[in-house]
């Protein structure tokens, strides 16, 4: 049994997936009981989280398992727990989406993607890593194109698949070069081959970086994000923009910590430039958007840039600040997409005019949006503020003052378009000023999810000490 502990969350996820499949035929006949699937998935994910938290905590000393395939450490564990949590929240959002909530496949794919991400967070071998990435990606391709009757959704799914397949190939090419060169596949054995600059190391790094940059939508591999988010069902877009990105960063952090040591030691300027471009491009294009999902897509590109600032700083507070940033970002962006899903369901549109008068139509939803967008823009007492400040603290600590300044200037641009969204919700009125006649009802599962997320954002933004401690502990386990 002890042997299986490192992958207990994955085993539980697998069991959950099987149970969903078994349950499905029994509920087929009875339309009224279909929502049970959503609750079952969400509660199952939370149960998996609780059980893992109680039984499968890693020891303080990291250990390898399954012949070095996975590493049983705190970084992977912390990420896994947040993936499970975020997947549970996403399952609740699924319940509100008409074309998803009655389909067992949707929940199964969600669980499968979560399983892949859990493996990504702890993979310690190139083969395992690649498999994990594919296990994550394939369910996500299907989910993005899940609405077969909807042209935009199929386009999103197909686009995501094409870009994804291409970058996967590039990534795999990089991996095969690594193996050809060193004859090794264990991540923790490779560092010695990449500890100083040479052309081959650079080439390989770029190939691998390109593959991962697609996952986390860094410039110039960000093009797919707006189209895919816009077309994909909103809860899926939320999942893509948060959890899938966090998983990508978990891999990125691990690779830079133990494999591409030459970059993190001496050549972080490359990453700094990448971060600058990602933030700036994301924010500037977001300014021109008229569709909230596209806006959030560009904003999530910009946020990948902020997180990358922490990766640039790397040592000291760098990695802990990245972990903290990702946790804060996952909560915040899930909340934002949750709100978009609700409004999209009621109004049938994701354009800005659909948001006019939202605070009068549903005061609670308005306040939730306030929390989400102010947290995205980095205002206290919400999680986004401390997360951003810690990233900049890390940058200043390792001497990247100019990068911190670029970051804060970018957050000013961000503030502008986030405030604009709030303006539509709070200031503008519906065409006939009859908001009373057009309430925005929030279903119970979504309400639960939104409240949990708001509470989490406030908790992270005020009592940030223990959380940052956890992030530090996790990051320290990386080396």
């Amino acid at each position: 049994m002890i042997v299986l502990l490192p992958i207990l969350p994955e085993i539980l996820l697998l069991a959950l997936g099987v149970l969903i499949l078994i349950l499905d035929p029994f509920l087929k006949k009875d339309e009224a009981r279909r929502p049970f699937l959503g609750w079952f998935t969400a509660v199952g994910l939370l149960a998996a989280l609780t059980v893992s938290l109680l039984l499968a905590r890693p020891a303080d000393d990291p250990a390898f398992a399954f012949g070095g395939m996975v590493r049983f450490d705190w970084l992977g564990f912390v990420f896994k727990m947040f993936f499970l949590f975020a997947a549970a929240v996403t399952a609740l959002f699924f319940m509100d989406e008409e074309k998803l909530n009655r389909r067992a496949e949707a929940y199964l794919l969600l669980v499968a993607a979560a399983l892949g991400m859990c493996l990504m967070a702890s993979a310690a071998d190139l083969v395992m890593l690649y498999l994990a990435i594919e296990t994550t990606s394939i369910p996500l391709y299907i989910l993005a194109g899940f609405l077969r009757q909807d042209d935009k959704s199929t386009e999103a799914g197909f686009k995501y698949l094409l870009f994804g397949a291409l970058t996967s190939a590039v990534l795999l090419y990089g991996f095969s070069l690594i193996y050809g060169l060193t004859g090794k596949t264990g991540l923790y054995e490779l560092g010695v081959y990449f500890n100083n600059f040479n052309l081959i190391a650079m080439g390989i790094t770029f190939l691998v970086l390109a593959g991962l940059a697609f996952k986390v939508s860094l410039f110039p591999f960000h093009f797919w994000a707006p189209d895919v988010y816009e077309g994909a069902p909103t809860p899926v877009a939320g999942f893509l923009s948060t959890v899938s990105k966090a998983a990508g960063f978990a891999v990125l952090a691990r690779l830079f910590a133990v494999v591409f040591v030459w970059v993190s030691d001496d050549w972080s300027l490359i990453l700094a430039i990448l971060a600058t471009l990602t933030m700036t491009v994301g924010n500037l294009i977001a300014l021109a958007q008229k569709n909230i999902k596209r806006l959030l897509a560009y904003s999530s590109i910009a946020h990948a840039g902020y997180a990358l600032v922490g990766v640039v700083a790397f040592y000291g507070l760098g990695l802990p600040s990245v972990v903290f940033y990702l946790i804060a970002y996952v909560l915040t962006n899930l909340l934002a997409f949750g709100i978009v899903a609700v409004v999209g369901r009621v109004t049938g549109s994701d354009e800005f005019p659909a948001y006019y008068g939202l605070s009068r139509r549903s005061a609670g939803l308005g306040l939730a949006a306030l929390v989400a967008f102010l947290s995205l823009s980095g205002m206290p007492p919400f999680a986004g503020f401390v997360a951003k400040v810690f990233v900049f603290v890390a940058a200043v600590e390792s001497g990247w003052v100019w990068l911190a300044i670029v970051g804060v200037l970018n957050s000013i641009v961000g503030l502008y378009y986030y405030l604009n969204v709030l303006k539509y919700m709070y200031l503008y009125r519906m065409e006939n000023q009859d908001e009373d006649q057009h309430p925005v009802p929030v279903s119970r599962p979504v309400a639960v999810a939104l409240i949990v997320l708001v509470a989490g954002i406030l908790l992270l933004g005020t009592l940030f000490g223990p959380w940052f401690g956890l992030a530090t502990y996790a990051a320290a386990a990386l080396f």
């Binding site: 605070s359 900049f392 804060v408 503030l415 502008y416 405030l419 709070y426 200031l427 940030f464 000490g465």
Partner: protein, 491 residues
């Protein structure tokens, strides 16, 4: 253990905001009374803190410290000195009077009072914080509700523009200061955001000279310093009455205060080096603000630019770096706070009734609104520095302070502004409250209610009280200034 006065003061408005948000939107009465009760409670506590502050002992008192994030040396660390105690009191006063004046807000009062109180919590937090990180935390909390308050409840013509402009200006300022603060944190080598520790960090003079200007100006943007004052009159004018009161009365002090706390007190060498520049900018503020105010025809813009001018005096007082100037500036922060709150309250009362703020179109308001007229006259006397009013207690030492620096001529130039100020405030008083009432207003101006009256009387009481008995405030500020001068090396 001592009762945690300061944290209760800081978190009372926040708690009230949360309670109000739980109410149903229709419970307008309950919302207002909860707001008033919370405001009075905070005012009572802040008055208690002010009264029981031991001036002879000076230093930081009512200190509370809770470890918040020991890893990075962040703690929830509150305490007041002679500089901040009056400002805490000021915030309490403006909060209560602001609630009284906003009794008539009908559009979503629940959100209005909740946002206003979140703002108030932020303001209290900045004045009471002794931790640099927490200072920023509260500073930003004080900034963002401003956007919503102005954009939603403001003057329909300019509110979107003004709210965005204000928020972006202030955010730019604060993040620039933030970078400066982070650099200070790492350079000090003490790994603490505790400002008491940073005061003794002994940064090198070169470091101080490099970073003083960004830090000081970043905060001073909120203090309305030239050439970054542009957001302020627009913001004042677009904001609803209570928000203008808060904004000009308290928020601009927030900027000046943080510039003093973080800029001058932590980087004294930098302050000495750049003081002439700050004085020059402040002089432009004083004179230019007064002249612009004198040509405005919109009642609210007059007051808005007069704030720019008066806040220039505060910056000027700080930049003299001597006892007189600093004491004057400290008193000016309080005096201008209540004065401007009163001004905006009166403007709001007139506008709510006449539906115009165009000075040439107004007249004869003294008959229907006698107390508002008296209030405006008292405020005017304060703003022109008439002896017997708090303005004199503030402005006289500032000019004496300027006189004893090598830039003494600035006192002469600055004094011109007093004359201009006298001219434009008296013009406004004459035209709006005396003069002939236009016919369309006859019998259409309802009197103000008892809440408005109470607010006006409260504000006037402070201005006259301090004017007649400077000992009610000056010793407090003096005890704070001694500490600052010690940091400046007894200059």
């Amino acid at each position: 253990m001592q009762f945690p006065f300061l944290s209760v003061i800081v978190f009372t408005p926040l708690a009230a905001a949360l309670i109000i948000l739980v109410y149903k939107p229709e419970w307008k009465k309950a919302i207002r009374w909860t707001a008033l009760a919370a405001g009075l409670f905070a005012l009572m506590l802040s008055a208690w803190v002010y009264i029981s502050y031991d001036k002879s002992a000076a230093g930081y008192q009512f200190v509370e410290k809770y470890d918040w994030m020991p890893m990075l040396g962040i703690s929830l660390h509150f305490g007041v000195d002679g500089m901040s105690a009056p400002l805490v009191l000021l915030t309490g006063v403006v909060m209560v009077t602001g609630v009284m004046i906003s009794w008539g807000v009908e559009d979503r009062p629940r959100e209005f009072f909740a946002f206003l109180f979140i703002l108030a919590s932020g303001v209290f937090g900045v004045f009471a914080s002794l931790d640099l990180f927490m200072l920023f935390f509260f500073y930003e909390i004080a900034v963002f509700p401003m956007y919503l308050l102005i954009a939603i409840w403001g003057w329909i013509k300019t509110r979107e523009y003004a709210a965005m402009k204000l928020t972006l200006y202030l955010f730019v300022g604060s993040v620039i200061s933030l970078i400066g603060a982070l650099v200070m944190y790492f350079t000090s080598g003490q790994h603490t955001f505790n400002m008491l520790a940073l005061e003794t960090a002994k940064f090198t003079p070169e470091f101080q000279k490099t970073w003083f200007l960004p830090v000081f100006l970043g905060f001073a943007i909120l203090g309305g310093i030239f050439p970054f004052h542009n957001w302020s009159p627009d913001g004042h004018v677009a904001a609803p009455t209570a928000v203008s009161m808060f904004h000009a009365g308290v928020l601009m002090k927030l900027g000046a205060f943080a510039a003093l706390r973080v800029g001058i007190m932590l980087l004294p060498e930098g302050a000495k080096f750049w003081a002439p520049l700050i004085m020059g900018l402040a002089l432009v503020n004083i004179v230019y603000g007064a002249f612009i105010a004198s040509v405005q025809t919109d009642f609210k813009y007059v007051i808005g630019f007069s704030s720019v001018s008066h806040m220039g005096l505060v910056a000027m007082g700080f930049a003299t770096l001597n006892a007189d100037g600093m004491i004057g500036a400290g008193v000016q922060m309080f005096s201008h706070g209540v004065m401007t709150a009163l001004f905006f309250a009166v403007v709001g009362m007139v506008y709510d009734r006449a539906h115009t703020r165009d000075i040439p179109k107004l007249g004869g308001m003294i008959k229907p609104l006698p107390l508002a007229g008296i209030g405006l006259i008292v405020g005017s006397l304060v703003s022109m520095g008439m002896p017997g009013f708090s303005g004199f207690v503030a402005e006289f030492p500032i000019f004496r302070g300027i006189w004893s620096t090598h830039l003494w001529w600035m006192a002469i130039v600055g004094a011109i502004s007093i004359v201009v100020t006298a001219a434009y405030v008296l013009r406004v008083v004459l035209k709006v409250f005396f003069g002939k009432m236009p016919e369309e207003f006859e019998h259409h101006i309802p009197p103000i209610n008892w809440l408005d009256k109470t607010a006006l009387i409260l504000l006037m009481a402070f201005m006259i009280g301090i004017g007649l008995f400077p000992a009610l405030m000056v010793p407090w500020v003096e005890s704070g200034v001694q500490h600052i001068l010690a940091l400046l090396g007894g200059a």
